[in-house]
């Protein structure tokens, strides 16, 4: 009979190995899924995981990796603080949308004036928008004990309606001949999130994401704030004993995740997306949850996981156009990845033993 036995302390080896095992298992079962859909599993896996990096068109896909990865990493870094502390902001998608709306609104308000100050103002507005949207569940939890999971999630649907209303109303392009959607910010120089090095995909959001990784790493490993975050997640009572103010910690964690999600939204709307439109959001806020867990809530892990997840997005698009693989299959693949990670995670804290039954 298979038994689980709790380890005296978490295994360091398995902490690093579980994400790798999860990826391998996902590739294997993903291959089975693709075979069931009538695809050649090996070709499909290669198309998704390798072609974006090594095929003859890789020069086109590699910058995409940064463009898709940056918002994921940025949001996931923000979420990781709260997740470590047991604060579950799962409404990053909403904060992303509101950040984009606020940032875009500031930029559009200045149109057609040109000034170097416009883009920084948009950045501030984007971060503030996401932060304030995240403060709603944060304050409700601290003040009324309301469940932040449900409130932050409800606010995603509210934000989507707000987005639709903005795309059709207040922010609609007056020269757009009645089509929904705002002016294209990427063609408005002072408001555009331009590439820092042309053709590299390296825009300001990518830079910010890398910065966020470094700051988060230092905060978590060297600073008392990171210590308090980890302590609160593992032992809330011990955290109070150590002098942590739980309400304040909730607000700070919500603020960080909201602001970073808002920033991600702003960089997206001013760059790769270009405009506020009804279908502006593509689920980065939810995928970032997978990225955060896959990266073990560790900044460096999140960086790698964000890259991997961006790879599946790009590879998924290639597989869709070249092989006719339905895009939903990629969504399933991402879900499977999280499942396998959670499943093999048991090995970090438990040892598997084969206990013989006693006669």
């Amino acid at each position: 009979m298979i038994m689980l036995e709790k380890r005296p302390q978490p295994s360091r080896g398995w902490t690093f190995a579980t994400p790798v095992v999860a990826v391998v298992l996902t590739m294997f079962f993903g291959g089975l899924l693709f075979a069931a859909l009538g695809q050649d599993p090996l070709v499909t896996i290669r198309t998704i995981f390798l072609d974006p990096l090594f095929s003859e068109f890789a020069w086109f896909y590699r910058p995409q990796l940064l463009i898709k990865g940056a918002p994921l990493v940025l949001i996931a870094i923000g979420l990781s603080f709260g997740f470590r502390a047991g604060i579950w902001n799962i409404g990053a998608e909403g904060q992303y949308i509101v950040g984009a709306i606020c940032g875009a609104a500031v930029g559009l308000a200045f149109y057609p004036m040109e000034s170097f100050i416009i883009f920084p103002l948009m950045v501030i507005a984007g971060a503030s928008g996401g932060l304030l949207w995240a403060m709603i569940p944060g304050l409700l939890r601290v003040r009324f004990g309301t469940n932040e999971i449900l409130v932050s999630l409800m606010l995603v649907y509210v934000a989507e309606q707000l987005l639709a209303s903005m795309a059709l109303g207040a922010l609609r392009n007056p020269d757009g001949m009645g089509f929904p959607g705002s002016r294209n910010l990427s063609q408005y120089e002072s408001a555009a999130n331009l590439e820092i090095i042309a053709g590299s995909g390296m825009h300001w959001g990518v830079l910010t994401a890398f910065l966020a990784v470094i700051v988060a790493y230092v905060a978590l490993s060297r600073h008392i704030f990171g210590f308090n975050v980890r302590l609160s997640g593992q032992s809330p009572r011990a955290a109070r004993f150590a002098g942590v103010n739980p309400g304040l910690l909730v607000l700070i964690c919500m603020a960080i995740s909201g602001a970073l999600a808002g920033l991600a939204g702003l960089f997206e709307v001013a760059g790769p997306a270009g405009q506020i439109s009804i279908d502006f959001n593509v689920g980065y806020g939810f995928t970032a949850i997978i990225v955060a867990f896959l990266g073990r809530l560790h900044p460096v892990g999140i960086l790698l996981a964000g890259g991997l997840m961006a790879l599946t997005y790009i590879g998924g698009e290639i597989a869709q156009s070249n092989l006719g693989l339905p895009i939903a299959a990629i969504q399933i693949l991402q879900g499977m990845l999280l499942f396998f990670l959670l499943a093999v995670d048991v090995l970090t804290n438990y040892r598997i033993t084969w206990a013989r039954k006693i006669a």
Binding site: I149, L155, G169, Q334, G335, A343
Partner: protein
């Protein structure tokens, strides 16, 4: 805006229909949470149920078989959650989220060939005598059978938890799993059964959307209904009676905003569409939740 175009009898009647999917999903989750498990995957199980129900109903032309298929589909999906959380002791919050993400993808894949098809007819019952009562008849006694199935499940769960031995054990497991284990009850077995019941109910709720309420299959059609069901369980303080109230309250808001949209209210359509979500938040804030089951959300591992 023309408020006179809103017929209060029709409004109340459609309230019961609007509340049913949420009610079904919520009563399942209530049982799961009373057993001490927090399954945040309701949305994913609901949408999987929606597509399973639709596919089966279209294939067999029988809505009843569709609902059966939805219940099985939801229960099977919940098994993944059960296996991960109960046997591999994974974090329930994260696993529930994963279940939702996975369910959304799975349903989209399964429903690919079914977009734009109409579901088979599922006629309303016309209950003789009772249905003839003015006002009350059309409001309460002229609906499709699933409305009454939903009510029956709520009543059954209420009686099960209050009067049956199995219900007592289920509550005991949710209240203090260590103590229940020490008394020799099978914590994991009870929880697995509860999780599957929750999955089946969520599946039924989803199928009600795709077979009765819409009735069509579209991707992401649950649009947060599963999350609202979770909120209603909290609102109800884990009690079936209040759950009914919560679901009807929510149904009321939904129906009212749809009616206002139709009546051409001065507020934008998008803002009216926000109403159910904002109402849910308001309810969560105003209602002080009762005491949650003692072991809710904690992993159980029988140590020495």
């Amino acid at each position: 805006m023309d408020l006179s175009s809103i017929n209060p009898v029709l409004l109340l009647a459609s309230l019961m229909v609007a509340a049913t999917p949420i009610l079904l999903a919520a009563i399942g989750e209530l049982v799961v949470e009373r057993a001490g498990v927090l399954n945040l995957g309701v949305e994913g199980m609901m949408i999987t149920g929606a597509v399973c129900g639709f596919v089966v109903a279209v294939a067999t032309t029988s809505p009843w078989l569709g609902f059966l298929g939805a219940a099985i589909g939801g229960a099977l999906l919940s098994l993944i959650f059960g296996f991960l959380t109960q046997f591999l002791l994974s974090n329930q919050v994260a696993t529930g989220l994963a279940l939702t993400l996975f369910g959304l993808g799975l349903s989209a894949l399964m429903g690919q060939g079914y977009i734009g098809i109409k579901a088979p007819e599922f006629p309303d019952w016309y209950i003789p005598l009772l249905g003839d009562i003015p006002v009350i008849g059309p409001v309460i006694f002229q609906h499709d059978p699933m409305v009454y199935v939903g009510l029956a499940i709520v009543g059954g769960v209420w009686a099960f938890l209050k009067y049956s031995r199995a219900g007592l054990i289920l509550r005991a497991v949710g209240e203090n799993h260590e103590a229940a284990h020490a008394l020799g009850y099978h914590v994991v077995r009870v929880r697995m059964l509860a999780i599957m019941f929750g999955g089946a109910c969520a599946g039924l709720g989803g199928a009600y959307l795709s077979l009765v309420r819409v009735p069509q299959w579209t991707e992401g059609m649950t649009a947060g209904a599963g999350w609202i069901a979770l909120a209603i369980v909290v609102f109800a303080s884990w009690r079936p009676g209040r759950l009914l109230l919560g679901a009807y309250l929510f149904g009321g808001v939904t129906v009212l905003q749809l009616n206002l949209q139709a009546a051409g209210a001065a507020i934008g359509v998008e803002y009216l569409s926000m109403a159910p979500y904002l109402a849910t938040i308001a309810v969560l804030v105003i209602m002080r939740a009762g005491r949650a089951p003692g072991s809710l959300g904690q992993s159980f591992h029988a140590s020495r």
